[in-house]
Symmetry: C2
């Protein structure tokens, strides 16, 4: 069975099914097509399926031309999970959020697996790419595949291979980012290595699906904790009258043993604020605590309040209340130069400002209209930033440091600028660091 | 005054006084001599002064030939602080430990400054290199220089420039590690840049002595926290049956956003376990907490207990008590391939084992005889590691992973190996990870 699978991969006759066509699934689909495979994309969102079928994009950094080209060379999309029976490899790229008690919400993964279960067949490989706690593949996916009558490692293969997409990173693409793979059995591992080895320059085998699951968590925990640390030190430096950004730059001149992470108004994106708590939850089962994760969550989660405090203080010094003040948020995506709004701290800031009675506007060249979000609603569209418009705001908050902003223009024409990113290095009477 | 100072640096007529001839002061002295300066080394330890005068080394990685050569080209050493009056630049490289309440102990710095105070004169530059909290230079050194009748920035110059020595690092030397400099005034900064620019390839000016002080702390806090994080995750992975070392290696294949740090039996050396608490102490003055530092201290400080637990458990499984068991500690310096014993977790392990009644031995090719230490006393010398000797120990604890050990020999011939460094990657019946 393994040899047959490997043969289909080698001769490009394998059909690859990718479930979940978001920031991970869509670029992965394009890469498989580019490498010569027929790809069937699955999504419960019929709008995504319609757009792909029409050769249109819905992700800023992936051009429509790339989608169109892929559809002409083997990419199709469907909402019909029954078509799972025709694919040889199934790759799950669905979200793994937290519920409101900050516990893992595996419903997207498990609903998907249960939806495809009737269509699973011998010879298939199932790969989970969604970030999750160690043990998910073995404890949740394996029994569901076995319930479909498949002997794992013999009839079918099961692997975990964490996605490492970094939207907006100009130096790396799906193909050039090494990919970690762990299998439920030795045969599973080899099937996984064959699949990903066909499209990724370097695949990295690990000894178990648990090790692969933990690898992705470690990467994101590392980031969450390092950002938490500099955020805490930002508060300390602020009190001491030291510029944390200058200090970070100076420390970064040490050629070993130090890596720069940068403070900000909080953390966003679908990974860093969420993934670490998957480990926290699982660790409880073993009676152990993940204290660095908790602390990072606390510190990072409190940063919008720190920024709010700075806004209130700066307005107050100018004899203004937040209520009725016109505040412009510069940049609302969660990091620079992309359009991804998930968990963006800018939105938390906007909520807090609105709650305090401010008249909130935003400007973001990557987000022309404030999108529908599960927990946030703003009827706003991106405002122009120019000499005239800037003067109308009581306060301009630099929240996301997109390259497209004209920072000199902003500082020159604003009554008050709150800089949460250390973009301005020289003091100015209308500039406040936050 | 600044131009005169810069001229003396430029024409190599400046005499450089270096106070504290340890791991930082000695290599720095050699570098100034190499660059053509006359150097007077000061130390209260007459043994160090005697050895330098005799052209002998007392630091493993600095050969006697280098010391001898330096004495032939302008290096002298003395215990007489009155000779401070003849030098143009004074560089303080003295220890900044913690007292037993984990508070900064500046006594070495302040005693030195008070000892040299009568001999300070116009035209001199004073540079502090010892790691310390932000504000030390301004609040402690400046008034003491002013009390000597010197106007800072006019009569004399005062800078902070943190040492970045990394003993045993084969890739970088004193000369090639960029050096951060902050001055009390603009003239002070320029004097400091002139001094260090003459011997260091790249000097990095920052806006204040506080920023320079904070830079060094950030570097070491970053390390302490990152090591704390992987130590905590080691405990979590241990419970889950996942190999943390495999996970770290796999995560390190991510080409951005992740840097590998490695867990161990605790942390040692004169920097990482100590420096961060300098900030903790100073932060209290501003009413802020340094929670990441506290947590890292707690986790890292608990690692010898974690290792002890593993030793007790492994011996118990073999129906042995720690009491009367013969235990060999492999490696007692605080990190590999050097002889530095300061704050070594190996020593803490030895104390704990002795206290529990074990018969403790050690082997360390870098430490032939257990040295005199302020708080630890062992009448031991390094034991041979061979086929016969290894069999005599109930337990061998790999604590410091020197390259010179024959790891295969150790595993093949030991009854029980406790590996605290992840040196052994394959399971073996006599191998326990800790």
């Amino acid at each position: 069975m393994l040899n047959a699978f490997k043969q289909k991969i080698a001769d490009r006759s394998a059909i690859v099914g990718i479930v979940g066509l978001g920031y991970v699934g869509l670029p992965l689909s394009l890469r498989f097509v580019e490498a010569g495979y027929r790809v069937v994309g699955f999504d419960i969102d019929s709008e995504k399926v319609r757009k792909i079928s029409a050769g249109e994009t819905y992700i800023e950094h992936i051009p429509s031309a790339a989608v169109k080209d892929a559809t002409a060379h083997g990419l199709s999309a469907t909402t019909q999970f029954s078509e799972i029976s025709m694919v040889d490899a199934i790759i799950l790229c669905v979200p793994t959020p937290l519920n409101k008690y900050r516990e893992p919400d595996l419903s997207f993964v498990l609903n998907t697996v249960e939806a495809i279960q009737p269509y699973l067949r011998k010879g298939q490989l199932l790969s989970l790419e969604s970030t999750t706690y160690p043990g998910t593949t073995e404890e949740e996916l394996r029994p569901r595949m076995e319930a479909a009558g498949l002997a794992i490692g013999q009839d079918a293969f099961l692997v975990f291979s964490p996605e490492r997409e970094d939207p907006g990173n100009p130096n790396f693409s799906t193909r050039t980012i090494p990919k970690v793979v762990g299998g439920q059995t030795e045969a599973c591992l080899h099937a996984g290595l064959a699949l990903y080895g066909a499209v990724i320059d370097k695949v990295v085998p690990v000894s178990s699906t648990q090790a692969a699951e933990m690898t992705k968590l470690l990467e994101n925990i590392h980031r969450a904790v390092n950002i938490g640390l500099v955020n805490e030190l930002k508060i300390v430096c602020d009190k001491m009258g030291i510029d944390i950004h200058e200090v970070i730059d100076a420390a970064a001149t040490k050629p070993f043993g130090f890596v720069a992470y940068h403070p900000g108004p909080g953390i966003g994106g679908h990974c860093i604020p969420i993934d670490p708590f998957y480990l926290t939850w699982k660790a409880r089962e073993y009676g152990v605590h993940t204290r660095f994760i908790e602390l990072a969550g606390e510190v990072n989660g409190s940063m919008p309040d720190f920024v709010m405090g700075k806004i209130v203080q700066a307005l107050n010094e100018r004899c203004k209340s937040v209520r009725k003040s016109r505040v412009l948020i510069l940049g609302i995506s969660y990091k620079k130069n992309i359009d991804d709004m998930r968990e963006s701290p800018s939105v938390q800031l906007m909520e807090k400002l609105r709650e305090a009675g401010a008249i909130v506007s935003y400007s973001d060249p990557h987000v022309p209209v404030f999108p529908k979000m599960r927990e946030h609603r703003f009827d706003l569209s991106s405002q122009p930033v120019d000499q005239v418009s800037l003067k109308n705001y009581d306060c301009v908050v630099l929240a996301t440091d997109h390259d497209r902003f004209d920072y000199e223009l902003v500082l020159r024409n604003s009554q008050l600028v709150i800089d949460t990113r250390g973009k301005y290095r020289n003091p100015a009477p209308n500039l406040v660091r936050a």
